[in-house]
């Protein structure tokens, strides 16, 4: 087991180097630079431009800048934002709970609706219900996020007035930030009206962000269930006279869930990338919104640090999953 764990850990090193290199290269290959961004239509005195490039360390060759960046990262220093001058790590930590909260509820939405929908489609194979679920999930999967979000805002917020348009909480609630999770903070403050406002603000963004995972989970559950339902032990269970419910939940679902859970795990990365668009439309103050603005303003440390931290999270989660697989299923360790 130790060798297995070390092997998996060793794989993290090249992945980490790859991620830092890609993040560094991508942002530097985008035309323009942070100093140019400061000047706007107004010209900039060449001497001042040179001074700023020097202060930001951008006048050095790229490999030197990269080596310097990696050196700082290894010491735990992700640098400071070129626009706000605040440490990147502080900004990330302040905004990440918002993204996590949104992603969590998007996933809850996707799982709570996706699993039963997939089960229904499998049970009612080739019926209207099956076609409806599969048709809807195909539509959900192919839906452009931006368009879908605007459609929901126009319908539920502007026309019906059921949900707020954007933000995390109505402006009249000034809840002290303790954990950064709005639902937790409002409850801690004992302000139920604020909690209710926070929940209502979560509805549309969670639906938008959860739509694609919902479609994927529904389809995966359906196909996995169909496979399991054909197994002999299901036939045996039915022959024993068990109810459809018992057969489906106790015997079929548990076995069908294994690939579904793997798919759910894979959706985590997707949720974080989907959050970029969703947060922009819903003015959700999370890391997606922050990264987009970082790219627009060529804030190199923000983009590099943000990508690195997100990647580190995904790598970390994958590592834990890999190790858990190893513990649960010894065959993987020797594979």
């Amino acid at each position: 087991m130790l060798r297995f764990a070390l092997r998996r850990l060793a794989l993290v090193v090249p992945t980490f180097i790859g991620v830092t290199l890609i993040a560094f290269a991508l942002i530097h290959f985008i035309p323009g630079d942070p100093v140019e961004n400061l000047s706007g239509e107004r010209g900039m005195d060449p001497a001042r431009r040179a001074r700023l490039l020097h202060e930001f360390g951008l006048d050095r060759p790229l490999p030197v800048q990269y080596a310097d960046y990696v050196g700082h990262v290894l010491r735990g220093d992700l640098g400071a934002s070129l626009t706000t001058h605040q440490p990147v790590l502080d900004e990330f930590l302040a905004l990440f709970p918002a993204t996590l909260e949104l992603a969590f509820f998007a996933m809850v939405f996707a799982v709570v609706l996706g699993l039963p929908a997939g089960m229904l489609a499998a049970q009612k194979r080739n019926t209207l219900a099956d076609y409806a679920v599969m048709g809807a999930s195909l539509a959900g999967y192919s839906m452009p996020i931006f368009w879908w979000a605007l459609l929901l805002i126009l319908t539920f917020s502007v026309q019906l007035g059921w949900t707020p348009v954007s933000g995390r909480i109505a402006v009249e609630y000034d809840v002290p930030v303790v954990t950064g999770f709005m639902l937790v903070d409002t409850l801690r403050a004992g302000d139920f009206a604020a909690f209710r406002s926070a929940v209502s603000h979560l509805v549309l963004p969670a639906i938008v962000l959860g739509t694609i995972p919902l479609a994927v989970i529904a389809r995966m559950t359906r196909s996995s269930m169909l496979e399991v339902l054909r197994e002999d032990y299901i036939r045996a269970a039915r022959a024993k006279g068990l109810s459809v419910m018992a057969v489906t939940i106790v015997h079929a679902l548990r076995n069908a869930l294994i690939p579904v859970i793997t798919v759910i795990g894979l959706q985590v990365g997707l949720l974080l990338s989907g959050a970029i668009l969703t947060e922009t439309i819903f003015s959700w103050p999370g890391i997606g919104n922050w990264l987009i603005h970082g790219v627009q303003s060529r804030d190199y440390p923000v983009v590099q640090g943000g990508i690195l931290l997100v990647a580190a999270l995904v790598i970390g989660v994958n590592l834990v999953v890999d190790l858990l697989y190893g513990i649960v299923n010894p065959r993987i360790r020797h594979g």
Binding site: G32, S39, P46, V171, T280, R298
Partner: protein
């Protein structure tokens, strides 16, 4: 239980949960005005940054300058200074300060004295004096506007004459100086606050938690979400009518519009031109309009052939149907430009005749210049929407079609916005689209950064046009204290500009601020800031 039951129960539970929470947003507390702003401020210090977004969130609500622009105009009126005198050689400005001006307070700091000359001298010396302990505290931090305006070359020293008198001595006579003093970077900070924070060992705190003399006090900031302010009871100009001001940061213009519609905000920044028609039909929304302090133009690089010939530049001017551009690109919301400054700016020379749209004459002039069959060139167009040009590509296509009629084949080219500006400063362009929004209401603020000889070096003069007669006039105007005499000089400079035709002046656009009907007393600002000092909400 059947599987269909499970599904319907789950759906029902979700619907009930949704209904329980997804109620209409609660009504806003009375006296709270919500402004849907377009982005987050870069910080809460008025001297470090140079974007309008930051000014709106920092220097406008929380700080004051010695003088200010009368909202809606570019007239300079007293603010923290009640009066000023200028020495006969126009090199010394002596300001008499207002008495009884209070600074805000916060959990870390409670002022013990009123604003006085020490604060004014400190605020300037912090930017100008490298030896000031607060001059450089953070890597990469710059006094962007102070540097860009070349203030170090203009102001020699700032002295305290007495507690309520301050003298600025200039290195040369500089008539726009007073307008410069009304700009955001010239905000007055509390020296006592900075000293107190330094004593506590947290000097940076003074730049993070702002203390000013403005109409609103800082309450809190949740990054990328909201900025909260409350009315400053002791504001020298009289307490604002609203109790609370909230900036709801909403980057997407469509979302801002949706929030304005639902009443989640009262005023929104920067509407999308495409939404204006619908907004104007909405009975709950007033769409205010104001002539923009701006210019959209096409510049010819006069250092490159064939644009080094005046005749060619004039011919291409004549070939462009500006009225058609105004209709198609600006949707009629603006006016055709004939001068490099807009008509709302003093010294605008209305006697100047624009080049008429006359393709036949243009073709003849090209032939006279040695291009009877026209020529091939490049036309760079804006990759982004700017206040002075809503659709660069569409404009480029129209100009391309117009030029084609006289035999000039223009290849349309663009780059990503930052790259576009970067390349324009190297002189790589032949003809390019650009523009400018004025920031202090002084004509100098258009002529020098856009057409001055120094600006060729800095890159702001994208036509790279340096005309000695023009330069002499604008330099002389800047050194002339009398406004009428200055206006005359700028008027003459505009004649030279028109004759030499380094640009095709296309249009001055109109700006719009959509507000909800219950908002009273909101005035659009000439320099595109958003002021809420005198605003009220009536239900």
């Amino acid at each position: 239980m059947r599987i269909t039951n499970v599904v319907s129960r789950t759906s029902l539970a979700c619907a009930v949960a949704l209904a329980a929470f997804a109620a209409a947003p609660a009504a806003l507390a009375k006296g709270t005005l919500v402004y849907c702003s377009e982005g987050s401020p870069e910080g809460f210090q008025p001297q470090f940054f140079s974007t309008g977004t930051t000014f709106d969130a920092v220097s406008v609500p929380m700080f004051n300058r010695l003088v200010q622009f009368d909202t809606g105009t570019t007239d300079v009126v007293p603010a923290l200074a009640t009066s000023w005198t200028v020495s006969p050689d126009s090199k010394a400005y002596t300001f008499k300060l207002r008495k009884g001006v209070k600074f805000h307070s916060n959990a870390q700091f409670r002022p013990t004295r009123d604003m006085n000359a020490d604060d004014v001298v400190f605020s300037w010396s912090r930017m100008a004096d490298d030896a000031n302990p607060f001059h450089r505290m953070t890597a990469g931090q710059t006094f962007a506007y102070f540097d860009d305006m070349g203030m170090k070359n203009i102001v020699d020293k700032v002295e305290k004459v007495d507690d309520y008198t301050v003298r600025y001595t200039l290195k040369r006579a500089e008539a726009p100086f007073l307008a410069d003093m009304a700009m955001d970077f010239a905000s007055i900070l509390s020296k006592e606050y900075f000293d107190a924070m330094q004593k506590k060992g947290t000097p940076n705190a003074a730049d993070v938690f702002p203390i000013g003399t403005g109409p609103f006090e800082f309450v809190s900031y949740q990054k990328d979400a909201t900025i909260r302010y409350k009315a400053f009871d002791a504001y020298w100009g009289g307490r604002p009518k609203i109790d609370n001001l909230v900036f709801s940061i909403t980057r997407d213009a469509t979302t801002r519009y949706a929030k304005l519609k639902t009443g989640e905000c009262h005023v929104m920044a920067f509407p999308k031109p495409a939404d204006l028609a619908e907004m104007q039909k909405d009975p709950a929304i007033d769409v205010l309009r104001k002539e923009g302090l701006n210019i959209g133009y096409i510049a010819f690089n006069v250092e490159k052939k064939p644009f080094d010939q005046k005749l060619v530049r004039q011919a291409l001017n004549m070939a462009v149907d500006k009225e058609a551009i105004l209709k198609a690109v600006y949707q009629g919301q603006g006016q055709v430009a004939k001068n490099p400054i807009p008509p709302i700016l003093w010294s605008y020379n209305d006697a100047i005749k624009d080049y008429p749209y006359d393709p036949a004459k243009a073709k003849a002039m090209l032939a006279q210049a040695g291009y009877p069959n026209g020529f091939e060139t490049e036309l760079w167009y804006l990759p982004v929407t700017r206040p002075y040009n809503p659709d660069g590509k569409r404009m480029a296509e129209l100009v391309q079609a117009d030029w084609e009629k006289i035999g000039v084949k223009a290849k349309l080219i663009t780059y990503e916005w930052a790259e576009y500006r970067k390349r324009s400063k190297t002189g790589e362009q032949s003809a390019m689209m650009f523009g400018w929004s004025g920031d202090n209401g002084d004509p100098d603020n258009f002529f020098v950064p856009l057409l001055g000889c120094e600006a060729v070096k800095g890159g702001g003069n994208v036509a790279r046009w340096c005309d000695k007669r023009f330069e002499d006039l604008v330099v002389k105007a800047a050194q002339t204290p009398d406004k009428a005499a200055r206006a005359k000089l700028y008027g003459e400079a505009q004649v030279i500009f028109k004759e030499e035709a380094p640009w095709i002046t296309i249009a001055h656009s109109v700006r719009f601020d959509p507000i909800r009907r219950e908002v009273r007393g909101y005035k659009m600002d000439a320099t595109a800031h958003h002021y809420f000092t005198h605003v009220d909400i009536v239900k």
